[in-house]
């Protein structure tokens, strides 16, 4: 194709727009997961993390604990950093601690935890207990889980941040609950992170939460990217559209992850898995080309139609 001044200007504008919309680093081109900056510090973080809801709650089972450690090993090996958990997730915290110890405390870890208690006074002790389970010196991020006693816990977390006991503060919800209150907190509190559910079929967050996060400079963690596995199960056996190859997606999970990751306000998505091949597949979705807005709509329409 011949390059004219017009096509050059158009291409430059498109590239500028893409760079603005998708502040993804060059890691993606090198096979490593792409990174995005945490708005409050500009620290870059890989855009795919690791959730632990259900998958890491394996109790004292030594075989399953080793499987989880294997998932963590594959996660770090593929360039992942953020692992997210909560006191609500049963034994997930000690299982993470077991994996971290087995892997020699990987320095890449970005430890994201939550505080989950209706008692404001019990918050600090719970965070300390969680830290002991993980076996880390401190958490990178502590979030108020499901907005439970959020006012009191946020004050605790802001004090911890000021004292250097935690690097970032956040708040979470899931499955579309209490978005009005979440929005209020995002507008009124100086939080670094917000976490909520967003995926190819649950797109309520696009209306207000995602634009607001961009506007307020709040990093977004997306939970339940596959509706806790329901979406991947629903699409199992259905042929992937040919155009998925243009994005380098070789599975429904990758295509649906790319849909999420391509939203410019999303910082990290945290799919949970018990399988090493799936964690690799998830992280490789964070590398390579991302869908543009038109392609995102095409993905959503296609999944909806199936």
């Amino acid at each position: 194709m011949r390059t004219t001044r017009r096509t050059f200007v158009q291409a430059s504008l498109a590239a500028t727009a893409a760079a603005t919309l998708l502040p993804i680093s060059l890691h993606a081109q090198q096979g490593l997961p792409a990174r995005r900056p945490i708005p409050s510090t500009r620290e870059e973080i890989p855009i795919v993390g690791l959730g632990t809801w259900i998958t890491f709650n394996v109790g004292d089972d030594p075989v399953l604990r080793d499987e989880c450690a294997g998932v963590m090993a594959a996660f770090f090996e593929a360039g992942g950093r953020m692992i997210d958990s909560s006191p609500m997730y049963g034994s997930s915290q000690p299982v993470i601690g077991y994996g971290l110890q087995k892997l020699g405390q990987p320095s890449a870890l970005f430890a994201a935890e939550k505080v989950w208690t209706s008692s404001a006074a019990a918050g600090p002790a719970q965070i300390e207990q969680s830290r002991r389970f993980w076996g880390v010196p401190k958490f990178d991020l502590v979030q108020v889980h499901n907005l439970l006693a959020w006012k009191a816990h946020l004050q605790t977390l802001f004090q911890m941040k000021a004292a250097g006991a935690v690097r970032y503060v956040g708040i979470t919800t899931s499955e579309g609950r209490r978005h009005d209150l979440l929005e209020q907190v995002m507008r009124s509190e100086p939080i670094d992170f917000v976490q909520f559910s967003y995926n190819v079929v649950d797109r309520e967050a696009e209306a207000r939460l995602l634009p607001l996060a961009s506007e307020r400079g709040i990093a977004v963690i997306v939970n339940r990217p596959f509706r806790q596995g329901a979406l991947t199960q629903r699409l199992q056996g259905k042929p992937l559209p040919e155009w998925a190859a243009e994005l380098g997606a070789s599975s429904w999970a990758q295509l649906m992850l790319k849909f999420i990751l391509a939203h410019p306000a999303v910082t990290v998505a945290i799919p949970a898995t018990t399988r090493v091949d799936h964690v690799r597949e998830n992280l490789s979705a964070a590398a390579g080309p991302m869908p543009d807005p038109a392609m995102r709509e095409r993905i959503a329409a296609h999944v909806k139609a199936l």
């Binding site: 259900i54 709650n57 109790g59 089972d61 806790q228």
Partner: protein
């Protein structure tokens, strides 16, 4: 919890079926061969009811109380609570049921196992299923014997067997012994059905059968007055 109506049973399920059934495998392996003793205790319960309905109540209550306390401590508190924090709150209820059995069983005229008729036979049926049928559910569903649930080792057959025993009993304080096994069966049934496990019918069926038999007995007694 706000917006409670938006929550589904799946939202409270913290673990996968694989983790759940492996927990029974580990529990059975840790306690084997205690299963032989608990099953023998179950057989003794049947023999006491059949042959010493009036005088064996104290021993029977004792034999039934020990599994409740043991299962509450060994399974719910030490094992299940590691994957389901709610189990730590349920474990004391198992201890309470054990204490209630001990206290009510030791009272003069506290319990007598002389009920027959439909309620009695339903009691025998549930008791027999809890002892002999429940352990078969695991191999019948392709999980092998390793994750079998056995009376006195696992909570479901223990609660179901107790409902069977209570159907065969009379006593002023009998109603105090019913709620905990019924509630456990319902909780367990909900957990199993949320996991999509076909054997959820068993913990649902036991209290349903027991309730039907009790209702039938009450109606019949009133009709005969």
């Amino acid at each position: 919890m706000s917006e409670w109506w938006t929550y589904r049973a799946e939202d409270f399920l913290l673990f996968s079926p694989r983790v759940y059934w492996r927990m029974f495998e580990l529990h059975n392996a840790a306690l084997w061969p205690l299963h032989m003793l608990t099953l023998a205790a179950g057989v003794i319960i049947i023999l006491l009811i059949a042959w010493r309905p009036g005088t064996g109540a104290r021993w029977l209550a004792l034999i039934l109380a020990i599994p409740w306390m043991f299962v509450g401590w060994s399974f719910l508190w030490n094992r299940y609570a590691t994957i389901n924090w709610a189990a730590a709150y349920v474990a004391p209820a198992f201890a309470v049921e054990g204490v209630l059995l001990l206290v009510i069983g030791s009272l003069r005229d506290g319990l007598a196992f002389d009920r027959r008729g439909l309620a009695g036979w339903t009691g025998y049926l549930i008791l027999a299923f809890a002892l002999a049928g429940a352990p078969l559910l695991a191999p019948l569903q392709g999980r092998g014997w390793a994750s079998s649930e056995v009376f006195g080792i696992a909570p479901d057959p223990t609660a179901m067997a107790t409902l069977g025993v209570l159907l065969l009993a009379r006593g002023r304080l009998l109603p105090l012994l019913v709620p905990i096994p019924v509630l456990w069966c319902l909780l367990s049934g909900m957990a199993l059905s949320t996991m999509g496990e076909p054997q959820a019918w068993a913990p649902y069926a036991a209290p349903a059968l027991a309730a039907a038999a009790w209702i039938w007995t009450i109606i019949r007694q009133r009709f005969n007055r």
